[in-house]
């Protein structure tokens, strides 16, 4: 498998996720510490073996970009490689890329990537208006849902995508969450339930939108060689890439998030495999339309065909391509894509019980964040 350009011999060796949902009294820092402890135990590592620390500050993290410092202190670490980064839902995978590069370059041997947030109980920030300088709120343009609603409307106009097709995504995530004891939303959902949910920002309804959650997540990256000596079954990072469109409405294609395709293609190239090799995919689902667009960008279907692709349960377990097998941001918990990494790893370890994709060898994980600006993708494989 190895030897491809851009694919360092690096593996994810430990994952940790705290309880998710509504956690009164929890703090972002405390959740990060808990997640780190869980990931260490999963890997069978001692904390003094971790010499790299990468973090994403939560939306409620008071210290913001200095989170690496606060968490490093709380964990009693002395890293020789550390940083905090805020790219929303692309961050986990961008940090994975930084970790693989640091390990390949000898800047660190074992890097922990950690996130914690109390967006559910600590005050959600997702309703704010975007725009530098003049706020888009002047015209009433608020919240993350509106950006994806713009994408959905144009996608519907150009390709005939329907709200019932969006519902297929929500229903698939919910069915998978029902098989995941750690998921927040486990009640079964039908397409009709989705259609009956209240409009939030048309064409998006309530069940097109992700949850808002408290929780912490961590994963640990090290060399494949070191990983093989540890407790957990290593999952190799075959390829990981990022791409961005910092321009928003200044870019005529902004609505379609074209950098997602750039990131996915670069990850495949580094991995030396294409979409046909992918057994299971964790596709970033801040809103249902995002999954449809990711299916197109990651090469599972052509542009405009994502709506048809998801019909008839094809992204459910047992379908053509099982997607978001733990329930995703829509039904497991909104950890901004960090749990997508955890599930990506667990599927390839074969640990997923009733939601396990049989003989899963290669998995794709994607992330996207900010005002449709940032994207990243990773191809993972069983060692």
């Amino acid at each position: 498998m190895g030897g491809h350009v851009g694919a360092p011999h690096v593996a994810i060796v430990g994952v940790g996720a705290t309880p998710q949902g509504k956690l009164p009294g929890a703090t972002p820092l405390g959740l990060q510490v808990d997640a780190f402890r869980l990931a260490l135990a999963d890997a069978g590592l001692r904390k003094d073996e971790v010499d790299g620390l990468l973090t994403m500050p939560g939306t409620t993290t008071p210290e913001g970009a200095r989170n690496y410092l606060r968490l490093g202190e709380a964990l009693g670490l002395a890293p020789r490689f550390t940083a905090s980064l805020s790219m929303g839902g692309a961050t986990a995978l961008v940090l994975m890329q930084l970790a693989t590069q640091a390990i390949a370059a000898g800047a660190a041997t074992t890097v922990a990537c950690v996130f914690g947030d109390t967006a559910r109980t600590g005050g959600s920030r997702f309703a704010a208006a975007y725009g530098w300088g003049d706020s888009w709120g002047i015209w009433g343009m608020f919240a993350a849902a509106a950006n994806s609603a713009m994408t959905a409307r144009r996608h519907m106009h150009e390709y005939g995508t329907t709200s019932r097709q969006l519902a297929e995504v929500a229903v698939a995530c919910r069915r998978h969450a029902s098989l995941n004891p750690a998921a927040v939303m486990r009640e079964p959902m039908t397409i009709e339930d989705h259609q009956a949910s209240r409009p939030v920002v048309e064409p998006l309804r309530l069940y097109d939108c992700c949850l808002i959650s408290d929780g912490g997540v961590a994963f640990i990256v090290t060399s494949v060689e070191r990983a093989r000596r540890l407790r957990a079954r290593p999952v190799r990072v075959l390829g990981v890439a990022q791409a961005h469109s910092p321009e928003t409405i200044g870019n005529p294609e902004w609505w379609y998030v074209p950098h997602q395709q750039t990131a996915a293609e670069a990850a495949y190239r580094a991995a030396g495999v294409g979409p046909e090799a992918v057994d299971v995919a964790q596709l970033y689902d801040n809103f249902t339309i995002s999954v449809i667009v990711w299916l197109e960008h990651a090469g599972f279907c052509k542009r405009g065909e994502g709506g048809a692709f998801v019909e008839g349960g094809r992204i459910q377990l047992g379908g053509a391509l099982p997607v978001n097998t733990a329930g995703g941001n829509l039904s497991e918990s909104y950890m901004q894509g960090w749990l997508h990494v955890v599930e990506g790893v667990r599927q390839l370890r074969g640990e997923c019980g009733p939601r396990q994709v049989e003989d899963a060898e290669v998995g794709l994980v994607t992330g996207r964040g900010m005002t449709l600006n940032c994207a990243a993708a990773a191809v993972l494989a069983r060692d």
Binding site: I138, W139, P199, V201, E202
Partner: protein, 137 residues
């Protein structure tokens, strides 16, 4: 009655845009080096990086590239307005801007609907560019 919705922060960089609107003109920056019309307002051309520009008057015509209808109230001042639309309008000269389409029920909106600018004076200092259908939809 005070206007409770968000207002622009007028500064040296965007004053020509907001002043022109109070005179019933839609003006945006046009790069003097490459001719690119840019929006959002920026210190240099994002295509060629030249700073030299003029505030050129636009036709005010464009089309609804995409639009959404807000039902959820994210800001109290918009509560009386729901359901209200926000459109991503592509101007004939190229740039995209967010705005609202007036003079048409939300149900009659559609992508690619031709629109033209109207000037909505909301305070003494601020006139917002909104759009109305060019013809009866």
């Amino acid at each position: 009655m005070t206007y409770a919705k968000p207002l622009p922060t007028i500064d040296d960089d965007n004053r020509p845009f907001w002043e022109a609107l109070t005179h019933g003109e839609l003006r945006l920056q046009r790069c003097l080096a490459c001719g690119h019309h840019r929006y959002p307002i920026a210190p240099a051309c994002p295509r060629c990086l030249a700073a030299e520009h003029e505030w050129t008057r636009l036709s005010g015509r464009g089309r609804v590239f995409s639009y959404v209808v807000f039902h959820h109230v994210y800001h109290e001042a918009f509560r009386p307005d729901v359901p209200y639309n926000v459109a991503l309008v592509q101007l004939d000269e190229g740039p995209f801007m967010f705005s609202n389409v007036v003079g048409v029920p939300n149900e009659a909106l559609r992508c690619d609907l031709p629109v033209t600018v109207v000037f909505d004076r909301v305070t003494e200092a601020v006139t917002l560019p909104r759009f109305r259908p060019l013809e009866d939809p």
